[in-house]
């Protein structure tokens, strides 16, 4: 039995290890980049993505439709990123001196204060807005793909993205 993994790579659906390997080859690094954008820490992002792959591996038998594996993987990874951000929030609430690791990537690759502020404010958006913006503008997913990944309607994706853009426009000063 054959199945499509990511639109390009065909693997045997009953060969889980091969399929996971194909998913990894196609999506591991892009997902690490996506999560790095959201949490600001490369190594933390790697841990989150690896755990996402573990969840997909463990729940393989529940993903009957091969076309949905990448959506399931993205969901698992976004859940991981959300849990880490929630943990950061709780730590920040109860441990007044604790602060997240410094974002050295922003200092290295973003040239202006406005660009750095844009990434910082992106991370402060409410979760759904943050996820919609990252999936829309970084991964260039269609609204329907974002909706499937997040388990919400395409109309909600539009609403969250619109609100996020409004908020970012208000919070980040014009150049």
């Amino acid at each position: 039995m054959m199945g499509i993994v990511d639109g390009e790579t065909e693997v045997r659906a009953d060969d889980r290890d091969s399929a996971i390997e194909a998913l990894h080859n196609a999506h591991y690094t892009p997902l690490v980049r996506l999560v790095t954008l959201m949490v600001g820490d490369l190594h933390l992002a790697e841990e989150i993505v690896q755990d996402g792959f573990l969840k997909v591996y463990a729940g393989w038998h529940r993903i009957r439709d091969p076309d949905r594996r990448i959506s399931y993987l993205r969901s698992a990874v976004l859940n991981g990123a959300r849990n880490r951000l929630a943990r950061t929030r709780v730590a920040d609430r109860f441990v007044p001196f604790w602060s997240p690791p410094e974002d050295t990537t922003a200092a290295r690759v973003l040239a202006t204060d406005r660009e750095r502020a844009l990434v910082a404010e992106l991370r402060k958006l409410p979760r759904r807005q943050r996820e919609c913006v990252a999936l829309r503008f970084y991964l260039d997913l269609y609204e329907s793909e974002i909706a499937e990944t997040l388990g919400i309607s395409p109309g909600s994706v539009k609403t969250h993205t619109h609100r996020a853009l409004q908020t970012l426009a208000e919070r980040v000063e014009q150049p």
């Binding site: 992002a45 792959f53 859940n79 990434v119 913006v133 997040l150």
Partner: protein, 373 residues
């Protein structure tokens, strides 16, 4: 340049700076997955969380905090502290260090020196013993019924019993965590954002009954608290600016009353930062940060749930729990070296008397104080 194009450009420049050489993972996932699979029972995979139990030390300390001017005095409370008996429940974050080697980054080697391991803990006031009950980074809040049933909030979609909460993160995979409330009779309350129209919804569930919607709000709600008569109070929150703006109280009969409140406190956690509790003597205590940048000063505001009027302010404390008789407020704040928690008791006619009790290791945020069983 349009903001959309700018976002596209900046996010790509940022994220794509991570190259394939930066990520050091190849067959690790498969190996970990196989190992994990062997350990799994049925289809459930439980990721092990190793908890390091912190040792508890107790040190008596000095200064008192200040209660600032109040709109109306609290004249109901007796001029003596409540008996320090019973059990305090709350979240505890230990001072464990990460067991991770320094790692190479483009900016040089970095070391993660502090890992906030969090969990639910109980502090027995008679012998001042702190016990870790369960630990998970998923927990964002804890509540306890009058019968001692412990519930936790987090990524669960509702308030769930502590027993069995671990490993349940996939139950409602896309839910925002928030604070929860647990009534003496075991009813639980939580807040969920709704998709589409952006409403914030307050849910309540009785023991064994289906959850029901108690309140829908176009603005975000936060920090629910049950009153002694079964009423529920929630804070209203605004993202712009990021601060609390009001108080809404829903009676058991469903009557809704909203009050504008001049909060000094902002919220550096976008609606996650406040905790509220309602005393048996009829006073609300709200603890939150007062700035949008971390670390921010903390304060506890006392409110009259009947009018929304401010009754007093206590600076510097980030956690609180009312005594079972409602005559004292247990307060918590960080020690100067930031590795411990100072516990104090506020009492007296205007809650102006504050006596330091003890200092414990790690960060303990008290939420519920139950009398001796």
């Amino acid at each position: 340049m349009k903001l959309e194009d700018e976002l596209r450009q900046v996010s790509r420049r940022y994220a794509d700076s991570v190259t394939a050489e930066d990520v050091g993972w190849d067959a690790v996932v498969a190996r970990r997955a196989r190992r994990q699979q062997r350990r799994a029972i049925g289809s459930v995979v439980t990721l092990a969380v190793v908890l390091v139990a912190g040792t508890t030390t107790w040190i008596a300390t000095g200064d008192n905090a200040e209660i600032q001017a109040a709109d109306r005095s609290i004249d109901l409370l007796p001029d003596r502290p409540p008996p320090l008996t019973g059990t305090l429940y709350g979240l505890h974050i230990g001072n464990a260090r990460c067991n991770k080697p320094p790692r190479e980054t483009p900016a040089g080697p970095t070391e993660t020196s502090f890992c906030p391991l969090q969990g639910v803990a109980a502090l027995t006031l008679s012998d001042r013993r702190l016990s870790r009950l369960s630990g998970s980074e998923q927990y964002s809040d804890v509540g306890v019924s009058g019968a001692g049933e412990i519930f936790v909030g987090g990524d669960f979609g509702s308030a769930v019993p502590l027993e069995g909460a671990d490993g349940d993160e996939q139950a409602t995979p896309l839910f925002s965590s928030s604070t929860i409330a647990v009534a003496r009779d075991g009813q639980t309350a939580w807040i969920a954002p709704e998709d589409g129209d952006g409403e914030s919804v307050l849910w309540v569930s009785g023991a064994g009954s289906e959850p029901r919607v108690v309140l829908r709000s176009p603005t975000p709600l936060a920090a629910p608290a049950f009153g002694p008569d079964g009423s529920i109070a929630v804070l209203e929150f605004s993202f712009q600016p990021s601060k609390y703006t009001g108080l809404t109280v829903v009676s058991p009969q469903g009557r809704v009353e909203s009050f504008d409140v001049e909060f000094r406190m902002h919220d550096n956690q976008w609606g996650f930062g406040a905790a509220m509790s309602w005393s048996s003597s009829g006073i609300l205590a709200v603890s939150a940060a007062m700035g949008v940048h971390s670390p921010a000063p903390r304060e506890t505001l006392l409110l009259d749930p009947a009018t929304g009027a401010a009754l007093g302010r206590i600076d510097g404390y980030y956690g609180q729990a009312w005594s079972p008789d409602g005559t004292g407020l247990l307060l918590a704040r960080s020690t100067e070296d930031r590795r411990g928690t100072e516990l104090a008791i506020g009492y007296g006619p205007e809650l102006k008397e504050i006596e330091r009790i003890e200092t414990i290791d790690g960060h303990f945020s008290p939420r519920v104080w139950l009398p001796p069983q």
